[in-house]
Symmetry: C2
Subunit: 131 residues, 2 copies
DNA sequence: TGATTATATGAGCAGATGTTCATATATTGT
DNA sequence: ACAATATATGAACATCTGCTCATATAATCA
């Protein structure tokens, strides 16, 4: 692009890794950049919310917040296949929001995170406000 | 399946809409079913969390929680194209978590939801606990 | 009016996601 | 040991997501 030749050189130092972007409010951007959490943190937090971003998983968490249940009970409750529920439980386990204990052939799952309950209630509040 | 012919009929009435599922703890399932929020509610809440389940959107929300910024500032801050940022802002707008105001050619965005801040902090707490 | 700038949006595409189906594993009862 | 039962998991597949690129819209300035 020809415009690159016209732009003064000292402006190129503003962006850390990129030099094509226009910055209108340089001070604001620099101030916010300092206050921002590290990208790894925001990524981890986003991953946590991703766990709760699926209707099936959300319903599983709601159910397990009310009682300890086994896989086939959950499947019956949600009207889904036991396989589908088991796959989702695997994701919830990996995120450490549920715990499980085996009793013979049956594996009981329960909510294992204080935050999930509170976070759900905030989500519900937002939903009611927006509608 | 042959097993269907053997299973007693009165068990088929247990599940509301499905009849293939095994239920081990009938009372627990029935009790939880009564306490469960409506599927539309859990779906809406899951949709709200879906908005925050992407690293880019999460970083945008973090930034807008600290200052009112325009699209190209956000793009520079995140090291992303203005188009990509604009697409994500559209999603955040639809979810009503950000507000925007126009000033000439520039459109300023800001956080427009009390819950997002609190919910983010809870997510961060969970992340720090789990690691 | 025409050129420039800031933002928005549609199409297209690669990668992620959630379900089903088949199969594996683990435990119990005969 | 063998059949039955509860759960877990891999492969396959259709759908969804987030980006890029091209283009449209909107506002400013010469």
């Amino acid at each position: 692009m020809v415009s690159d030749l016209i732009r003064p050189d000292h402006l190129a130092a503003e962006a850390d890794d990129c030099c094509e972007t226009t910055v209108i409010h340089e001070e604001a951007v620099l101030a916010v950049r300092e206050q921002m959490p590290a990208p790894e943190v925001t990524r981890a937090v986003a991953d946590f919310f991703r766990v709760m971003s699926d209707p099936t998983r959300m319903r599983i968490l709601c159910a397990l917040g009310r009682a300890e249940l086994c896989v086939c009970d959950l499947a019956a409750l949600l009207g889904m296949s036991e396989s589908a529920v088991s796959h989702q439980l695997r994701i919830l386990r990996a995120a450490r929001v549920v715990r499980n204990r085996r009793e013979g052939r049956i594996v009981y799952y329960a909510l294992d995170d204080q935050h999930v309950r509170t976070v759900y209630e905030m989500g519900e509040e937002h939903v009611l406000e927006v509608l």
